[in-house]
Amino acid sequence: MMRIPGALPLGRRFGGLCLVLVLAAAPVLAGCGGRATTHHKPGTGHQEATGGSGTLLPARDETGHRLRELPAAQAPTVRAEVRPDSEGGWNVHLTVERFLFTPESTGGAAVPGRGHARLLVDGRETGRLYGPWGHVPAGARTLTVRLHADDHTVWAADGVPVQATVPLAGTPAASSPPSPRPTEPGRTATLTITGRTVQPPPSRIELKKGERLTLHVTSDRDDTLHVHGYDRELPLSAGIPATLTLTADRTGLFEVETHGSGLVLTQLVVR
């Protein structure tokens, strides 16, 4: 049978190429770093995530957020001033440089010079500021203000978080009783770890999507609490109850575990 020279090799090569392409689609993506179009939250395209958003450090701050380092010349700075409020507590004023409060894009990707501030009262996170002014209730001794990126990582320069700490001197705590703890909304679970035993034993906490959950965890050793899927971490000090609050906004089954002892404390079933 006669064949047109050249035609067959081309067809063969083309067919082979097709097969190769089809067979290879998955592994090739892994290799060459193609931009996969996937499900992104608004504002988390790859342009922002990869392009000049600083270096993500392995270190975490005490609330479990990763540090994101920028060169010192580009990193934002923050100063905090406080003055007593007439009704109690303190009014806080932040002076920031190279930084813009962007409440509308919180939860998106990190962009240098944008984000929000978090207030840590006596080392415990109490709230966020989406602008330069805020208020801290009475009863606190020190206030730390830390700048976070939109993806909740902490802006850092030279490996240190960008933050300002001010003493809340002359606290009018003696004159007025400390305000009662605000009641926490949503579900609450109390877990105690003794050795390798978890009390109550691991079970499932059923939550509706969007429900809030507060976990009170006491461990008999220093450890780290980790909520899988929500990627929330909380340092645990031996014998001291720690509290973690989260909003169950993803459906699925998630494990709550300790990293040091590798124990599963409970499972969250979010429907």
Binding site: F254, H259, G262
Partner: protein, 431 residues
């Protein structure tokens, strides 16, 4: 290299599936009952209504694909390109593993092994046939120094080495502590390379088809692919039943299938809070307890099958190989389990791993692709579909092997076994 020197610095992870922080929701009773009922109904309808003489023709069946396509697929350049592709991807994997950070949240290597390879091979093999055989970087490595006169492979070996390797891989994935740490993965990789390359140096490259766990896994799943080879070598489109029917009855096939079924069942069990409590409070320690649990799951699945084969042998003295004669009908059941357990893991983690390999840090895990109801329906659907395919495959085989008078009674034990597996599988999805 710090991880090799100081593995203590790696945070201990609870024993669980290697990658993926989101597990599927437990099934609601509605889906579980619906699935169980369908499985029972289908089984008994099949007994009464299915054909009475064998219809599947194994590797004689199939509609040939155009010769141009066959030539393209068989072209040496295609084969070489696939080999190079497999080698390139393996090299990227190795470099990530060696040089990347020792953190599965930032290093794509653990996810590439546990999700892209292990879970991704399921759809790839179903669509395109035994792909790992074509991509396998170990074959490429072996081809650089092929042995001059390889010994013949002992006939009794069959798929037994692969079954053992698959069990070890299941242990690594489901039981081993720190199974995403660099030190563990490098050790496992070194072990795998050693066993496979030494075996291939002795027996030649046919060793891989019998001992490489990923190749055997991919080839067995490819039995259900519409693409296949006929006995005369033609590339054909065929019914998955014919592909299944042509599964070679090698020694060790039963063991391999039982390892697949048992390890997936153990993965389901390991989400159960009661099992977690047992693990954490066991005086033996969590790793030995989990190892025993995995072995017990495989042993239970195998014992059920062995019992069934024993009953079959009792009903028909002429059936000399009751074990391997029906092993192929368990493959769709294993596939149903695998789909039910790993579908959402593949879909959610796939893009995350690819984004990570592309260099982005802090890649967000995308939301699950289906709402909880849709996912539950898919899981039950996968298990029940696997059951139906298994029942049909077993029926056809039994009407071929048994005399017509005993064909219906002969397959009863098999049907009961499949119902037990399916109800067990659904039960694990509820728990």
């Amino acid at each position: 290299m710090t991880a090799l020197l100081a593995p203590v610095s790696v945070p201990t992870r609870a024993l669980a599936h290697g990658v993926g922080s989101r597990h599927d929701l437990p099934l609601s009773p509605f889906y579980a009952y619906a699935g169980a009922f369908t499985a029972l109904l289908v089984s008994f309808l099949a007994l009464g209504l299915l054909w009475s003489s064998s219809r599947f023709r194994g590797d004689l069946a199939g509609r040939p694909l155009p010769t141009a396509l066959q030539r393209a697929a068989d072209a040496p350049s295609t084969r070489t390109a696939l080999r190079l592709l497999g080698a390139a991807v393996a090299l990227v994997f190795l470099l990530h593993l060696l040089l990347g950070p020792d953190d599965p949240d930032r290093n794509p290597a653990p996810g590439a092994l546990y999700v892209l390879l292990w879970v991704g091979l399921v759809p790839a093999s179903l669509l395109f046939g035994p792909v790992w055989r074509l991509l396998n970087p170990l074959r490429t490595l072996h081809a650089l120094h092929p042995p001059r006169n390889p010994r013949p492979l002992p006939a009794a070996l069959g798929l037994r080495p692969a079954a053992a390797c698959l069990l070890l891989f299941a242990w690594l994935e489901l039981v081993a502590p720190d199974n995403t740490s660099r030190a563990t993965l490098l050790t496992a990789l070194a072990l795998h390379l050693g066993v496979q390359l030494l075996g291939a140096a002795r027996y030649g490259d046919r060793w891989f088809a019998h001992a490489d766990p990923f190749e055997v896994y991919s080839s067995l799943l490819a039995r259900l692919s519409p693409l296949g080879r006929r006995a005369d070598g033609r590339l054909v489109l065929r019914s998955p039943f014919d592909g299944l029917d042509s599964t070679p009855r090698l020694p060790g096939l039963v063991a391999t299938v039982c390892v697949l079924l048992g390890s997936t069942a153990y993965d389901g069990l390991s989400d159960n809070p009661r099992w977690i409590t047992t693990l954490q409070t066991s005086p033996l320690g969590p790793v030995p307890t989990a190892t025993l649990g995995l072995l017990a799951a495989v042993a239970l699945v195998s014992a059920c099958y062995g019992l069934c084969a024993g009953v079959l042998r009792l009903t028909d003295r002429e059936l000399t190989t009751p074990l391997t004669s029906f092993a192929h009908s368990l493959l769709p059941i294993a596939l149903g389990y695998l789909t039910a357990h790993y579908f959402s893991l593949l879909v959610t983690e796939f893009s995350r791993i690819v984004i990570m390999a592309g260099g982005a840090d802090n890649a967000p895990a995308p939301a699950p692709p289906l709402d909880p109801g849709g996912l539950a329906a898919l899981q039950v659907g996968a298990v029940v579909t696997g059951h139906v395919l298994g029942v049909v495959a077993a029926h056809d085989r039994s009407v071929r092997l048994f005399p017509p008078a005993r064909a219906v009674a002969g397959q009863l034990p098999l049907f009961l076994l499949m119902i037990a597996y399916t109800l067990g599988g659904i039960g694990l999805l509820v728990a």
